[in-house]
Symmetry: C2
Subunit: 354 residues, 2 copies
């Protein structure tokens, strides 16, 4: 028979965090694309714009005036999906009802990374990125003192539903553990109980040995295209040296190193198609609030990057029909994606030949 | 305290098919949108185009010539994600490995609904839609004689990754049960074991009683915005009268009635923003192949419609950051969505004032 080649022959791979399979059909990369393309022209963003509600000194929709901030700046989302004081629905959860509803409370904040609108994380200085990491840790500390989950996430690029080019992320804290977190918690716990070792610490060491899916690495961190990636150039950012529960636990050195590896990873992304690479990213660490007192040793801090581009700056992967109704499917192998990212230059294209 | 109002106060709702919660924050509909918009201009599609590989009589990329078909037409996908004879990966699934991989085999077909490129299901005659349903049932019968899962799905519109305007759907049959199906199978089975009644038959009867989320209905079928919908105008199409495992089990009357209700539902969709409404849809019924011999009485046939539009023909809901990393969130209640759909005219806007 024919010898199995992952680049030629479709197969399934298992995501041990979510217990979902992904269909890998790398031979699909050869098909032509005649469908929707995204506008890929680099949009010129001015450093400062009097009408942009995220710039220092400007007035937001609700009449509040931003301070003349010089580093990061955090404010309450003007249209929050979660509010701290919403009343609870009348009847509790009857487990057998097909109409189950429960209360949800929380806060939504916006965090600007930098006073300038025309920079992104890979174009910021390392010490500026360290300030972003420090602020993330501070928010986890503050909101996590009561809320069990603090979701830090960045939607970057118009393609990812981002409606403002100013570099920023969001922080949504909730009094419940969201679906994806429940799955990840369950899997990490089960693995830890079986092996007395953190799933993601073990995984990082195995990836570091194999190198095949590593994009960039440092002494403390590893960025890999996970073996089970579903987005074409999906990556996971992992501490590789020690067990770390949350962003708050990072040492100063680990923060510096993280800033550096984030800059390197995001530069690779931008250089791949010479475009400011769109993605959604977010941090997952041990739950907080009541979980601060323990029972979460199975957790290892990590970040997920989900970028939609597939073939070029303008052709994305659509997670549609089969993906929504049946199972995610990808068109190149994670190993191919990692190799392509490794092979692009380390210097940001906007800084080259200058 | 303030009285709970689902339109004003965020809350969580439970999807009993997937065991996922959705965050409903209807007050978010009031926020302005300054982000990416889609081109909403109705694109003129010619009835026949010599360069369109889906039209009757045309030659496809692989050199094959389409017959002069007059109703539906099925052919093998020229760039299939699943092939019947891919070799298996060398090592089997070691349950404890973080690098689990397994074989995947199947077939991918494309099915044209009609010889004309300028029609869609709601604009086709009822007897023409019945032919589509008949062909769906035929494919479930044929591919399902060996494969455990036959996924029929339609990606409609450029926004949903559809690369050809000719009315068509896809059929991917696999030798495995996809993730979403495994979840739905598990939930329906557990409910059936507890109640000796099909979850979705019970659900249909409760929705028919309440009427609040019903969009269109007939003697045999119900189209509702599910209580747990995550896409803004998501619907589910359900048989309401009797237990039906698969498309193959539909009587002639039920097929006629289904054609009619599909036309009515899709006309509502198109009329909502006066645009050919983009969506991904697909059928879920009892597994086939080895499951044809029994053990699947908990299943009830149904279709899911996942349309992305939120505010207008050009502003969609982005399932991004929080949704990908934490939990799906919606900006209007399912009851509001159902009401808006009920309130649009029953006559297709393209046929009005003609
Ligand atoms: O119809 P196509 O071009 O084969 O492909 C489309 O549907 C597939 C199944 O949902 C997706 O995997 C692709 O991303 C999408 O572009
Ligand atoms: O940043 P915004 O405008 O609040 O909203 C964006 O991120 C949210 C969280 O991922 C999504 O729910 C919205 O669909 C998206 O447009």
């Amino acid at each position: 028979g024919v010898k199995f080649d992952p680049k030629e022959h479709q197969h399934l791979r298992f995501n041990p965090l979510t217990e979902r399979w992904v269909l890998v059909s790398a031979h699909r990369m050869t098909r032509p694309w005649a469908g929707q393309t995204e506008s890929a022209s680099e949009q010129h963003v001015p450093r400062s714009d009097p009408h942009n509600p995220l710039c220092p000194g400007n007035t937001r929709a609700n009449g509040q005036v931003n301070p003349d901030y010089e580093s990061t700046f955090v404010f309450d989302n003007d249209f929050p999906a979660l509010q701290p004081d919403a009343p609870a629905p009348p009847h509790g959860s009857d487990e057998d009802s097909l109409f189950q509803c429960k209360a949800a409370r929380g806060v939504c904040q916006v965090m600007c990374f930098h006073p300038w609108s025309d920079v992104t994380l890979p174009l910021m200085r390392q010490d500026e990125v360290v300030k972003v990491i420090d602020k993330w840790a501070e928010l986890v500390e503050k909101l996590g003192s009561t809320y069990p989950w603090v979701q830090i996430f960045e939607n970057k690029g118009a393609m990812m539903g981002c409606s403002n080019p100013h570099p920023h992320c969001q922080v949504w804290a909730s009094d419940f553990l969201p679906n994806e977190v429940v799955l990840s918690d369950r899997s990490q716990r089960a693995y830890y109980e079986r092996h007395q070792e953190q799933l993601l610490l073990r995984y990082a060491s195995q990836e570091a040995n194999q190198q095949e899916r590593v994009v960039v690495q440092s002494s403390d961190w590893l960025a890999v295209v996970p073996y089970w990636a579903s987005w074409p150039y999906q990556t996971m950012l992992l501490p590789r040296r020690r067990h770390i529960l949350r962003l708050t636990d990072l040492t100063l050195d680990e923060r510096r190193d993280l800033a550096d590896i984030m800059k390197r990873l995001l530069t690779k992304y931008d250089n791949l198609f010479e475009v400011s690479f769109p993605y959604s990213m977010g941090w997952h660490g041990a739950p907080t609030g009541p979980h601060l007192s323990g029972g979460v040793d199975h957790w290892q801090l990590h970040a997920h990057y989900y970028p939609p581009l597939l073939r070029s700056a303008s052709v994305r992967k659509f997670m549609v029909g089969y993906e929504l109704l049946a199972q995610e499917q990808r068109d190149l192998t994670p190993e191919q994606a990692a190799e392509r990212l490794r092979n692009v230059p380390d210097e940001h294209y906007r800084n080259q030949n200058k």
